[in-house]
């Protein structure tokens, strides 16, 4: 095991995959000469040169579409968005083209492409830089959506994403890039897409949290443990395919569940998992499932308003207290 920053783990994944497959290249704003807006691609230009590490204009629709075309012709692009908030401009390429080209041509054309970059809020960046898009992309058939929470998961899953023959959305966070964690030294360390992980065992309540919310859940669980409440934290790691059996098995043990999701409430992952739990584990529930997510409100700038907007460990604790009838 090595201790790596999240950004280093991502870089290692990209580096290893570029090294093993000539068809893999990376493009995006500031990925080459600037060494990456968040230094994820630091050093890659020196190692792989201008052919495979490519700076793009600020032209998300254009370069995302170019990536789709390159993938259709056998290359394996990694398209970096400086944030998924900007990828909205490229949504036509992701949603209407990358996910549909194989189906509508009767299977003739594959599109092995990774769209990656930071997702959701990064603090006080205001309304347009703070949206969490994982649930939105998971809505569309044909996409795999990954939003890991720790460096080890990030490396293993990004390698899987790059090797996947389908379009994959891989989400990170500006606020996690500096976070350190254990990363396997194993040669060719891979984590399969679609497998969640029990990251903390507990018998009182199941807490499902992914991406940045995982860390909020951990803080809440540590606090609750002092009160004798043991949370079982499940990190799905992959939003789609969703590792539902892992969640259901846990709920059969704890009989209670809190969902922590960085999306807005309507139609988000929390809403979806909530539906699935009532379908699959109705008879096992001792309390209604609760969720902690963003309010149905845009991201504010002001620190005070922001703190009220962003999901907090306190909200998770409150939700756990609610499902355990401790309030």
């Amino acid at each position: 095991m090595a201790e790596l920053q999240f950004r280093e783990a991502l870089k290692h994944a990209i580096d290893e995959e570029m090294d093993r497959d000539e068809r893999v290249f990376i493009m995006g704003e500031e990925v080459a000469e600037y060494n990456g807006a968040y230094k994820v691609t630091e050093g890659l230009l020196d190692k792989y040169g201008f052919k495979r590490v490519i700076d793009t204009p600020i032209s998300e629709l254009g370069f995302a579409g170019l990536g789709v075309g390159a993938a259709m012709r056998g290359l394996r692009p990694i398209v970096e968005f400086m944030t998924f908030n900007f990828a909205v401009l490229a949504a036509d390429q992701i949603i209407n083209h990358a996910t549909k080209v194989k189906y509508m041509t009767g299977g003739q054309i594959d599109c092995p492409i990774v769209f990656r970059g930071p997702n959701a809020s990064a603090g006080q960046l205001g309304a347009t830089h703070s949206v969490s898009y994982d649930s939105m992309y998971a809505h569309f058939p044909g996409l795999k959506v990954i939003y890991p929470s720790e460096p080890g998961d990030a490396k293993g899953l990004l390698k899987s994403a790059i090797r996947d023959d389908n379009p994959v959305i891989f989400m990170e966070s500006e606020q996690m890039y500096g976070m350190k964690g254990e990363v396997s030294d194993a040669e060719d360390f891979i984590i399969p897409i679609g497998k969640g992980k029990i990251k903390r065992e507990g018998s009182d309540v199941t807490v499902v949290a992914h991406g940045k919310m995982y860390h909020v859940a951990v803080q809440a669980a540590n606090q609750l443990a002092k009160d004798g409440i043991e949370c079982e934290i499940i990190d799905p790691r992959t939003v789609k395919p969703l590792d539902l059996p892992l969640i259901i098995e846990s709920i059969k043990k704890t009989n209670r569940c809190v969902l922590v999701d960085e999306a807005h409430p309507f139609g988000g992952l929390a809403a979806e998992i909530g539906f699935l739990i009532q379908r699959e584990a109705f008879d096992y529930l001792d309390a209604p499932v609760q969720r902690v997510c963003l309010p149905d409100v845009n991201a504010p700038f002001s620190k005070k308003l922001f703190d009220a907007w962003f999901p907090s460990p306190k909200q998770v604790i409150d939700a756990v207290n609610q499902v355990t009838y401790r309030t």
């Binding site: 052919k51 170019l66 009767g106 389908n166």
Partner: protein, 366 residues
């Protein structure tokens, strides 16, 4: 003092009405056709006959498909290419077989040019399992990946950046191939075109971007939806450009060959406006009130297929009965295709879940 007449506020230019009030009367003007002969262009008599057959096949395929649509044999959209066949045919003969082609949803002619049989094409229109896209795509999504026809696409302008990606891949692999993308005049107003032209010129991509300007973006005349000359878009990107008479096969072939050679040699993109005319409506339910009958007739008089036929006869390159033989053969091919499509099975229900992912046993959320 007399009250000044209050002027009506207008935004979009209006069509067909009073010319003195600035109404747009016409879709498109043609540049001159080439005066070169087939020999000047290095085309053999066999090639000319093959081109005639190809154009005639596209024409009859679509006329028959229209009949079948009207008989209720299939639904959905049906955008006919009739009138524009010289573009697909001239281009496919000008490009190498290994070059990439992608187009928008008016795609039947392109598919036929790039190896989709009349049978597979008609079956696709009918939504049958034997269709070129196994019935998953329909009229708008013909494709033949084996022959590097990467398909017809339904989002106006959406496939333009994809063509840049083909060119990128060709340059990346240094394989000497180029890629050509075709779209209607409506697409020139999309941001996707502008982002792509910038990228293509900046990265020196071996790509050709072609506007098939048929005068109308659905029911809106070109002058009602876009400013200045379309071809002049290229100037903003310092890109090489050309305007071509798309009603004349030789003009398309000549210029597209020159352009393809240049793109291949210098790895630099071109922006090309080929002016043409679509005889039919935008899709099947189009009363065509946005244009005059006279305009349509003017173009039908210079029909590209008739023009080639006249050339062949006047230059004694083919005899009447020889051309008749080709026409009869094509007619039969298309009738057989209709029969084939009609008799082919629909896809089985399990095929609904096929072709979504590459793996054999993918995850579907339920």
């Amino acid at each position: 003092m007399a009250k000044k007449k209050k002027e009506e506020i207008r935004f979009a230019p209006t069509g067909i009405g009073d010319v003195n009030e600035g109404a747009v009367q016409k879709g498109v003007d043609l540049p001159d056709a080439t005066d070169k002969t087939h020999k000047d262009l290095g085309l053999s008599e066999e090639q000319l006959l093959a081109m005639f057959e190809q154009m005639y096949l596209q024409r009859r395929f679509e006329e028959r498909s229209m009949q079948q649509y009207q008989k209720g044999k299939f639904g959905g959209f049906l955008h006919l290419y009739i009138g524009q066949e010289a573009i697909s045919t001239g281009t496919t003969f000008a490009l190498d077989d290994e070059d990439d082609i992608i187009t928008a949803y008016r795609d039947h002619g392109w598919g036929l040019c790039r190896g989709i049989s009349a049978k597979a094409g008609m079956a696709e229109l009918f939504g049958k399992a034997t269709g070129s896209s196994r019935g998953k795509g329909g009229s708008m999504h013909f494709a033949n990946a084996e022959k590097k026809f990467w398909g017809g696409y339904g989002i106006v302008g959406g496939h333009i950046p994809i063509n840049a990606g083909f060119a990128f891949a060709n340059k990346y692999n240094a394989n000497g191939n180029i890629s050509a993308c075709f779209f209607g005049d409506g697409a020139v107003d999309q941001g996707a075109l502008h982002e792509t032209l910038n990228l293509a010129q900046l990265w020196k991509l071996p790509a050709i971007f072609v506007v098939e300007n048929n005068g109308y973006s659905m029911g809106t005349a070109a002058a009602r939806h876009t400013v200045a000359e379309i071809v002049d878009r290229a100037k903003g990107y310092n890109m090489k450009s050309a305007v071509i008479n798309g009603m004349d096969l030789f003009s398309v072939y000549e210029k597209m060959k020159e352009i393809a050679d240049d793109v291949r040699e210098n790895s630099e993109p071109w922006f090309v406006e080929i002016r043409t005319y679509r005889y039919r409506g935008h899709s099947m339910s189009d009363p065509q009130k946005y244009r005059t009958k006279e305009e349509l007739e003017e173009y039908q008089k210079i029909d590209p297929i008739q023009r080639l036929k006249t050339y062949l006869l006047e230059n004694e390159l083919a005899k009447e009965d020889q051309l008749k033989e080709i026409e009869d053969k094509v007619e039969q091919e298309v009738l057989d295709a209709v029969e084939f499509a009609d008799e082919s099975p629909f896809p089985e229900e399990k095929e609904l879940y096929e072709d979504m992912f590459v793996e054999d046993d993918p995850y579907f959320h339920v």
